[in-house]
């Protein structure tokens, strides 16, 4: 639209365009200023900081890649929190998505009272982690907690849970799954409600049973939703913090110390800002790589109708 051949109108057009540009940028100026000041600028600082020895107060000292070599070569706690995070992630993703699918299938059927059940399953998702962490902290008390009380009634001696380095992580994972299930449930429920009815009718006519319809129609049609959930659940579980902070503070020992908790302690507890920034960028690299791989390998299993 640049070469409009009407010379005597050009100044007006130019003025109108300049005004439109000004108005547009005025509308987006709050968010542009905000993102530049509170995200771009700190991101640049963070990249720089990851290459320094810095406590956030005195002048940073450039150390090149030493933070990174230190983390991978000489920091067993970093390696352990990394492993703990992978444990947490690998256990919680299939559980949340799997049980979320079961609940979505249950809620997809239009029966009386379904809204109550859907709300009940979703309630923990909107509840704050402090309240949830407290309740489950007391539930998991070995001697007089609810969980071992119930196990005791069916004759199973319960473990020490949060004070056991073996059982603390499973306990935290259970609570996290319990709290987080509402999200995949809602996503999959929306997916189920959007499936074309014709497929199911023709399958019925062909004599497909309920299980076959689930296996060969419903699940393949939901694969785009599963991909979306795998990507988002990976990103959120790899950054779990709140429940761990409230329930175990990373303990016993470092049994439940996870990635973000480790960053939190280094940055805000020990003042190791450069070191913590390096960890943040390794986290970014891991998330970016896994997301990329999930996206790339979707052709193998995701079905687009």
């Amino acid at each position: 639209m640049a070469e409009a051949p009407i010379p005597n109108h050009q100044p007006e057009i130019r003025r109108a365009r300049r005004k439109a540009n000004l108005v547009g940028w005025l509308f987006i100026s709050p968010i542009v200023v905000g993102v530049v000041a509170f995200q771009f600028f700190p991101i640049l600082v963070s990249i720089g900081a990851s290459l320094t020895d810095w406590n956030g107060i005195s002048a940073p000292k450039f150390v090149g890649l030493r933070n990174f070599t230190e983390l991978f070569g000489n920091d067993p706690l970093f390696i352990q929190t990394f492993k703990n995070t992978i444990y947490f992630t690998l256990a919680s993703i299939p559980l949340t998505i799997g049980i979320g699918l079961v609940l979505a299938l249950l809620c997809a059927r239009p029966i009386r009272g379904v809204a109550f059940f859907r709300t009940a399953y979703f309630a923990p998702y909107v509840t704050n982690v402090v309240a949830i962490g407290f309740v489950w902290f007391w539930f998991f008390q070995p001697d007089n907690g609810v969980v071992n009380g119930l196990l005791d009634q069916v004759g199973i001696p319960g473990p020490q849970w949060l004070s056991s380095s073996t059982w603390a992580m499973p306990a935290v994972i259970m609570v996290s799954v319990w709290q987080g299930i509402g999200y995949p449930m809602i996503i999959l429920l929306a997916g189920l409600q959007g499936l074309p009815a014709e497929y199911f009718e023709s399958a019925k006519i062909d004599g497909a049973g309920a299980f076959q319809r689930l296996r060969f129609i419903t699940l393949p049609l939901l694969t785009p939703h599963f991909l979306f959930l795998l990507i988002t659940q990976f990103i959120t579980s790899f950054q779990v913090f709140g429940l761990i902070y409230v329930m175990t503070k990373g303990g016993p020992g470092h049994a439940t110390s996870v990635y973000i908790f480790n960053i939190y302690q280094n940055a805000f507890g020990f003042g190791k800002v450069g070191y913590a920034s390096a960890m943040a960028w390794i986290l970014f690299a891991v998330i970016a790589a896994v997301t990329f791989l999930q996206w790339k390998f979707q052709k193998r299993w995701v079905f687009y109708s």
Binding site: G24, F27, I28, I187, G209, I263, Y264
Partner: protein, 271 residues
């Protein structure tokens, strides 16, 4: 033939409902029990002889925390709705140089994990004296609602052009068209973002944890975690506090569930 009969479906659904609700029911009932009976063996889920005095004691402690939570949630909701709707409107309906590039850059920032910029942010805020104030808990959030802007843009894109044209013919300014004609058309999106923002602000742990040291500035959920040994020495009182911290969220959720679920599915899966 269905995979399961209706009756067995109700049984399964009720079992799940118990699993998801029992801990919340226990929290409320523990808040009403005498301290000695909070952790009884075998476990009790329903309160007997309710100790309403527990709540009286807790309400001597928590009004300031409750007010901080309400105030911050309000600032975040109003601020984010204004900033995100203005930007969403501009990205959807206005033509100006650099618009699409600016939108892409905003979206691109959302792939960086928050922790990467939270650390330098903290150092900058400490430098300008914002640590132990409530500014870090709303100013940076209100000015960076990338996700909400994306949602608002989607919503503004669906409004028919004729409405906007009618406003232009009447001689309304761009701001007038946005504020009086277009914004009222996006109520569902505004509601969804409002509910999301409320919950996020109310339930935030990380921000108040790293920024607030003074007790009179702390939010309710984080005050419970931070001052549990100091003020909330009894489990029953802690559970009162936890219950009070959950009730506003459950109420908002019950009233606005539709918008909340709409918001999740809107952001989650498009087509």
């Amino acid at each position: 033939m269905r995979l399961v009969s209706k009756t067995s479906q109700y049984v399964v659904m009720s079992l799940f409902a118990v699993i998801f609700l029992a801990p919340l029911v226990w929290m409320v009932s523990a808040s009403l029990r005498p301290e000695a009976k909070v952790l009884s063996v075998p476990p009790q889920f329903l309160p007997t002889d309710a100790q309403w005095d527990n709540y009286r004691q807790v309400f001597e402690l928590i009004p300031v925390f409750l007010w901080n939570s309400v105030k911050l949630a309000g600032l975040n909701v109003v601020g984010i709705l204004i900033v995100a709707s203005m930007a969403g409107y501009a990205f959807a309906r206005l033509r100006f140089a650099g618009r699409d590039a600016a939108f892409m850059v905003l979206l691109a920032t959302s792939i960086i994990p928050g922790i990467a910029y939270l650390i330098p942010q903290y150092i900058v805020f400490r430098q300008i004296g914002w640590v132990d104030t409530q500014y870090p808990l709303w100013v940076p959030k209100v000015l960076t609602p990338v996700f909400a802007t994306f949602l608002m843009r989607q919503s503004f894109l669906t409004i028919p052009q004729e409405l906007e044209d009618a406003g232009k013919i009447d001689g309304a300014s761009t701001f007038g068209i946005y504020w009086r004609i277009m914004l009222p058309q996006t109520k569902p999106a505004l509601a969804a973002i409002g509910v999301f923002t409320f919950l996020e602000s109310w339930n935030d742990l990380f921000g108040p944890l790293i920024y607030i040291n003074s007790e009179n500035l702390q939010t309710l959920p984080v005050a419970l975690a931070q001052f549990q040994g100091e003020y909330f020495t009894q489990i029953s009182l802690l559970m009162c506090g936890a219950t009070v911290s959950v009730v506003p969220v459950i109420v908002v959720f019950l009233f606005a569930q539709r918008y909340f679920i709409q918001g999740i599915t809107m952001t989650g899966m498009k087509g």
